[in-house]
Symmetry: C3
């Protein structure tokens, strides 16, 4: 089906080099090749107008030989594409550098006072635009988004508590955590007694400032260390919060990277926390660097990177994009990916989707120990993506799960709590997950009755030297045996306990020899099915 044969004959010449070796010389005109859709349009010129000479063995008719030759060319191109995808995975030495770059971004964004709305988010997104061409969306206050309403916009310039000597005993300028997020404006003198019910501290960690919000209840408050609280004497205090809570916008950033297919992979990071480094400047930094790398390479999937305030941001995005959200086939929420703990993947609500399997495989294949957790409806924005009306295949990648480390939601979640090597490993795992999804295919063994004769095709040797050859040989047998048009390479990797890349390498070799045929994604019900119809 690949060739328009008559034309082919006209433009190519071939010569018998020895009794068993033929050589092809000629220029393949563009019109003569009907490409499979797996070859991206912008790479098709690889074939065109170039002179090719390739060896083939055995007695073949001209037509057979030409078909085989072009098939090989297409395979090579696909292999080249795959190499590009493989370049996703950075070298060990690159990772170290990337870890430090991401850590620098965390440090840069750390002082900004973010909330679920306001200029802190805008400034954060603006700085990300240095790395990726983020589109910034502004959704007006009062917009109805499902059961919620986009809130008033909150901004703050200054806040303090002054004692009677005029000293700032609590000062927003020192840490934006000192003010409860969404505190209403205030300027008033009051006694400690009146003030006390608006003060929040952590008796168990007397040196840390807690992080608190009051988004949906008009109130005001200050957070301080327990030591500061104990130091407050009976006095009259001047309490000032120079904030505004007015009709404005909810701001989120979005970066859409078009791929071969309109099917999407979603990467989502919340951007609403003020000076908290792991939660979630780590997620923002990894998502940003992931986006940058993916946008530079060819890809099968389209990618959507979302930088939005937690809960209300995801709800707003889903509300606006309700009709197209089903294009998200796989997704990852990135949150808390910079601490020293080991990797944690939390499954999607459906629990057995490709993202669940790919992420589990990817974290298992890293060197550090890792864990996969079942879905719970508690956590970050996976709560919204996995609400029963959407039920998207979105899981979450974290390191130490939120709420299980004492620094969580305190001033101790600072820049030094986040480590360059942890950021690097998290980025690497994301790329590994993406690489698995990009390379995952479902094949049909074209020679299902008994094994094909791999030796005769030089398939064993064609893999090049190396100790991995034995594994690839075994992988070829697994791929041939299980490629019934239903089981994907991901499932074959799981069942065979071989590394995914070994399975892919084997499948590619088999496909190049015509022993596998890709099954179109449309005929695969699982990954596209939506389990909740409302």
């Amino acid at each position: 089906m690949l060739l328009c044969r008559p034309k082919m004959k006209e433009c190519c010449t071939f010569r018998r080099a020895s009794p068993t070796v033929f050589r092809l010389y000629g220029t393949i005109p563009k019109c003569s090749i009907r490409f499979p859709s797996s070859i991206p349009r912008n790479t098709r010129e690889v074939f065109v107008g170039t002179t090719q000479h390739l060896a083939s063995t055995g007695p073949q008719t001209t037509a057979q030989f030409l078909i085989a030759t072009v098939r090989t060319l297409i395979s090579l191109t696909e292999t080249k594409m795959r190499k590009v995808i493989h370049e996703l995975l950075p070298a060990e030495s690159d990772l170290e550098g990337l870890g430090h770059e991401m850590h620098a971004l965390v440090a840069e964004l750390y002082p900004i006072c973010r909330s679920i709305t306001g200029n802190g988010v805008r400034e954060t997104l603006g700085r990300l635009q240095r790395f990726i061409p983020l589109t910034v969306h502004e959704v007006p206050s009062g917009t109805r988004v499902f059961d919620w309403t986009v809130p008033l916009e909150w901004n703050i310039r200054d806040a303090y508590i002054k004692n009677s000597r005029g000293e700032r005993v609590i000062d927003f300028q020192k840490s934006n955590l000192h003010v409860v997020s969404y505190s209403t404006p205030l300027h008033k003198k009051m006694r400690l007694e009146e003030l006390r019910s608006h003060l929040f501290s952590l008796p168990d960690n007397p040196d840390w400032v807690p992080y608190r919000t009051s988004y949906y209840k008009r109130d005001w408050g200050f957070c301080l260390t327990h030591k500061q609280l104990l130091d407050l004497s009976e006095d009259e205090y001047e309490v000032c919060i120079e904030s505004s809570l007015e009709s404005g916008h909810l701001t989120y950033g979005e970066f859409y990277v078009r791929g071969e297919s309109s099917e999407e992979i979603l990467i989502s990071a919340h951007v609403c926390h003020p000076s908290l480094a792991n939660d979630n400047l780590s997620g923002i930094a990894v998502a940003c660097f992931l986006a940058k790398r993916i946008s530079q390479l060819r890809r099968k999937y389209s990618y959507r990177f979302l930088f939005a305030p937690g809960t209300i941001g995801a709800i707003t995005w889903l509300s606006i994009n309700e009709s197209t959200a089903h294009q998200i086939k796989h997704g990852l929420v990135l949150a808390g990916v910079g601490d020293a703990g080991s990797l944690t993947y939390k499954k999607s609500r459906r629990g057995n989707t490709d993202i669940d399997r790919a992420a589990t495989l990817a974290i298992c294949e890293t060197e550090s120990k890792s864990q996969t957790l079942d879905f719970t409806p508690y956590g970050y924005d996976e709560r919204q993506y996995c609400s029963p009306g959407f039920n998207l295949a979105v899981g979450r990648l974290s390191r130490t799960p939120h709420g299980t480390f004492p620094e969580y939601h305190t001033s101790a979640d600072n820049v030094s709590f986040v480590r360059p090597d942890s950021l690097g490993e998290s980025l690497s795992v994301c790329l590994h997950v993406v690489s698995i999804l990009e390379q995952n295919r479902t094949y049909l063994n074209t020679n299902p009755k008994c094994e094909p004769q791999l030796g005769e095709r030089n398939l064993y040797q064609s893999l090049g030297g190396g100790s991995d050859n034995k594994a690839t040989e075994l992988a070829m047998l697994w791929v041939l045996n299980l490629s019934d048009g239903k089981q994907s390479l991901l499932e074959i990797a799981e069942r065979s306990h071989l590394r995914f890349e070994v399975i892919v390498r084997a499948a590619n070799a088999l496909k190049e020899h015509g022993l596998l045929e890709e099954v179109s994604a449309q005929s695969l019900p699982r990954s596209t099915e939506r389990q909740f119809a409302n």
Copy 2:
């Protein structure tokens, strides 16, 4: 659907109390409300003729507000009903008293000589009628019940073995276990040699008298301690059994408690054993007290309490009630529930029914350790209820499983072998199981796309104070996330590892706020399906 709107307008007035608060004044006429069937007929007057004033917030139309108001009233009524069900579960202090009352009943019934037919069963049932209005059924000997025939009725007045000095060396008056049940009448002198083959003892427990029967083979025999056997010298003995085996009746007791639905929960206890306390006076006592408590309260299900002789009694009941047995949706056989061992639930043949899940949950939620066993076709009357032609969802609650304790079927299974606290705990677990089944519902999240805004509805605070609030908040997220119209609260409790009552409390709160809609039981295939069609 709840309101007949035009009439509603005529009879109620409402007033705007503040910009966001409305107050309703008025009398809701009976005719204007169409009640959901979940509201029992005898509680509907709660709504009628009373003046209501309730607060509501936000801009609503009159109709919306009225509908919301009546919905709230209905919810409150349902909550009240649920409270009644909760009263099923007795306080710790009540349990102690109930345990002693049940133990007294065991002691009272202990001396009666029961068998599968005869006056012992009648007298036992008669005494239960002090507690519950039991219907006593008499089925004539010779009645064909499936593969079986109701046997002749057996009664016994006296029995003994006298030595040549006229001393009763074995005396039925001392223990009815001394005579093999269904022994044919006899009065004859014989040498020890002839007698010996009719004597049964337990060499391993030389102080205990075994329990034996010969229901379906005409024979006679005596059971005695091994010490008594060894003490028998060569002598001529006068052997007398004053029994009768004549056409009569098989007797069983039944207590049917009508509920909202014609779907039934069966509680079955065998009543055929003579002086054996745990097997099964314990089951009789717990079933009796369970029946008494359930009959006093409102309930969704109808209940059927069956006190019948083992095997032949259950077969007789099933044969007579073959056409309506499918109404039994859940059932428990109670047997051996008074010993000091921990709780054991044996699953139904189907193994994954609501009773299996509810009983497993209930025994796990008790403090003592417990076990759930898979179904086997060996045991008590669950053998008949779970025969493939009925395949009912009937499990068995026991403490130490029968046959695994040495006292089983011996005189050592006496009144002191049964403990008041064990009886109390068994009763409590039965009530817990019933309470789970009564409260189990399947809901549809009416707001399935993203989470609803719980905070705005004061749902978090509306739960009242207490440390359980965090669990209820988490439970609300679980219920919302999994209520897809298929998964019941029982399944949600299992998956979330939260206590069932916490899940129910969360579901009730959500339902009262219109966030859940009950799915009618008819559309749920699982619990009503019969897996064997003959």
Copy 3:
């Protein structure tokens, strides 16, 4: 359906012997009985022309009684058949003798130089014909078999390496392992340097000769001990391989044993290895003795015993028999069944077929420890039978899995590596597997509502004395409870954890009393389904 009633009346007489006992006298003519197909044609005369008198109880019509009588006769005959199958299982003492006989066969076949083609295979098959009437097939070189081509036939008379003193330092006459199988003919003098790249040894086991082949690449080589290699001094060597590689045939042996049904059980052993005892003279010997025993007895299934070269032999057979291969319902590859290790069963690709369950049960019921492994596409000819285009229910029985013992594919896999008792146990397990498959049935409980009254039918006592009676009684309850027309005896054995033979004995007793009815195999989808359609 069993009787042609009018004729029946004419030829039999019956008499009422007492109010409840009838006796039948008479001759049942052949024409009057329509036999179920489960009664083999050659055993039907059991019924015919003989005078029968049998007891029956209860009030029955003449027709009922006659039907019951003939049903009993048929049951008895089937029981007799089953006894024959039971004779499959040899006594402990027989096994010892059989083990030694099989070991003698291994020793006899050991010196023959086999390969995937050639006279070695012919001679091997010829010797097996002493035991079983094997059909020998010859398939011409060049025949296309799926993706493969039957290779040229290889034969060898002599081969050696002589040093300059004319001494044979490597001599094919001492061990046929010394020559790489399919070595091309050669007679040439060369220096050690040139020779060295054609020499293969095992440095880690310096006393062993490795086994190597070069079937699909024209080459030549010698295998030798590492000590021999080190002893080779710089010298001019005369290298001679008197082999031929010419158009000829691939040879395989087949023995088909017809049974009641055309459904087949396949037993397959590879015959291509030269002097290697465990791999696979052990498999050949066990398959041969299994065939001999099965052919002597009545059986439900037809059996096909295949002795073919590995890979190419199985592929050739499947290619030739492609259209009828679906008749293979169960199969076992026998390979490496003679070493001292414990038994290993490797599951079929489908993993949950009757052969998988029967073999797992059978090796669990042996005394020695055993293991069941999941399918992998690496191994012996199960690779071909389980290729996705066939997907047959074929597993593999081995002892120590190939490749996991150091003697594998070396001269240390010699006659003393194989043990008579291991061969005996392997044979016994094969017979046990066959006996399970032969006796496996699926029944429908004819009395599904409540238990039937087993006692009245003397079913408990009818089993004869013995400690197994309690197990059989329990087994009867299991069989009655689970025989819903879907679950087979094999599944009931698995679920009840009772021995299969106890389940069968119970089922037979129940069937003889009319309490079970066999469900025809056609209505059972699982065992006949093919999971891959191409």
